[in-house]
Symmetry: C2
Subunit: 248 residues, 2 copies
């Protein structure tokens, strides 16, 4: 991918998308995904890894609930990557990630991922440029291994919110008692590093795009959910899957 300028990409749905129609289409897709997931599980040949990245309050948790919450939980696993534990830090940065790559038949969601090791770490200077470029190479090799040698199809989504929308959502967390638990008093401090995060993301899109990123306009949940569900649907449709017959 040539250099993306996130500032030039809209955070809202294109003009020609009608909210009501898109929501209806999303419902259809989610219903069809139910069958496609069953087939993925039954055939047991392919797997899917969904990487969700985005600034704080960009809607990662909501996506998991609204889109992937409609699938059979026996075939979906969610792993949220937080600050590494002492044991995790004692290994290379891909160690804890590799443990959670999907087995055949499964859909694995990463809520944040190995990409944090070239994002938050870079913004805070825990990882210098030299190490960052080494890690990008390792990430590309790792993703290629999964995709080429285990039929793990990787969908990478960047949830693209505007700074104004993020601010609104963080403020909401300080006021709504049902959302306060999501608020961390570092959140507004991190939000001030907006431009540094953008730069780190742009660099990541440029150098880790062998398996391409989708930049998802995410200010409106209905459009975000549609884009993500549609990509998963298109991927599963493209796999030419069949129910296996009786075991020999």
């Amino acid at each position: 991918m040539s250099k993306v300028k996130l500032g030039a990409v809209s955070t809202r749905a294109p003009e020609n998308f009608d909210k009501k129609e898109t929501k209806a289409r999303l419902e259809e897709i989610l219903n069809e995904l139910d069958d496609l997931q069953n087939l993925l599980y039954a055939e047991n040949k392919h797997s899917v890894l969904v990487v969700l990245q985005g600034m704080d309050a960009s809607g990662k948790d909501g996506t998991i609930r609204s889109v992937f919450g409609r699938l059979n939980p026996q075939g979906v696993m969610v792993k949220s990557f937080k600050a590494p534990t002492a044991e995790e830090s004692a290994h290379d940065f891909l160690w804890r990630v590799h443990l959670h790559t999907p087995a055949k038949g499964m859909i694995q969601i990463f809520n944040r991922s190995h990409y944090e090791d070239i994002l938050v770490t870079r913004v805070h200077k825990w990882c210098d440029d030299e190490l960052a470029y080494k890690r990008m190479k390792s990430i590309n090799d790792f993703e290629e291994l999964l995709q080429e040698q285990n039929n793990t199809h990787i969908l990478k989504f960047y949830l693209h919110v505007s700074r104004e929308e993020q601010h609104e959502r963080l403020k909401e967390r300080t006021k709504n008692p049902a959302k306060m638990w999501k608020y961390n008093d570092q959140d507004f401090k991190e939000a001030r590093l907006w431009n540094d995060y953008r730069k780190a993301y742009e660099d990541c899109f440029e150098h880790c795009n062998k398996i391409p990123w989708t930049i998802v306009p995410a200010d409106q949940n209905w459009y975000k959910e549609y884009v993500i569900a549609k990509q998963l649907y298109d991927l599963l449709k493209s796999l030419d899957m069949h129910y296996p017959g009786l075991k020999k």
Copy 2:
């Protein structure tokens, strides 16, 4: 629990349960469970372990899809226990199970469980009576540890189908191309061991009932789903959970 005779327990819904009304009530419960689960996750004090046991084709997979498939996958994990791997067999029987007990805030589903080590193993004489009773004591101690020392609330369900219903479902698997992948040519052979399985289950209910079992009439999916969802609902309602405020 005094000795249960499974033959004396109906596999069908009680007369006073109307299918249409029960399905409507189930819908309501599932909608309320969505909020309760969010609260469980947010409060981060309790966890739930759901143990699903039952003969082949008693509807364990279907339960996971229909009941737990309605929850937020970020807060639900499903672990299916199959024949142990070489590594698992090199440890005590609770080792692989302990790895998957739920963290606070989570709902963990066991599709089969540590109970197989006193069921299939006993039927096939891989585990003699002496070892079986030792294991039952270990199971009781283990479940007590989880419940008393980590607020892990355990719901244990035996999906109770009739022999006729099981036979129908297994036959369907040999005929319906979308279900053939679930069929194993040992299934009818195992089904002939019906009485041995029943005996092993009855012994398990008698000796591992400190945390009680629910015997779920499971010939009709709508009733089975209702009973399980209702128990989870009643449990979560009983916990007196609250959204935590802002972190101090």
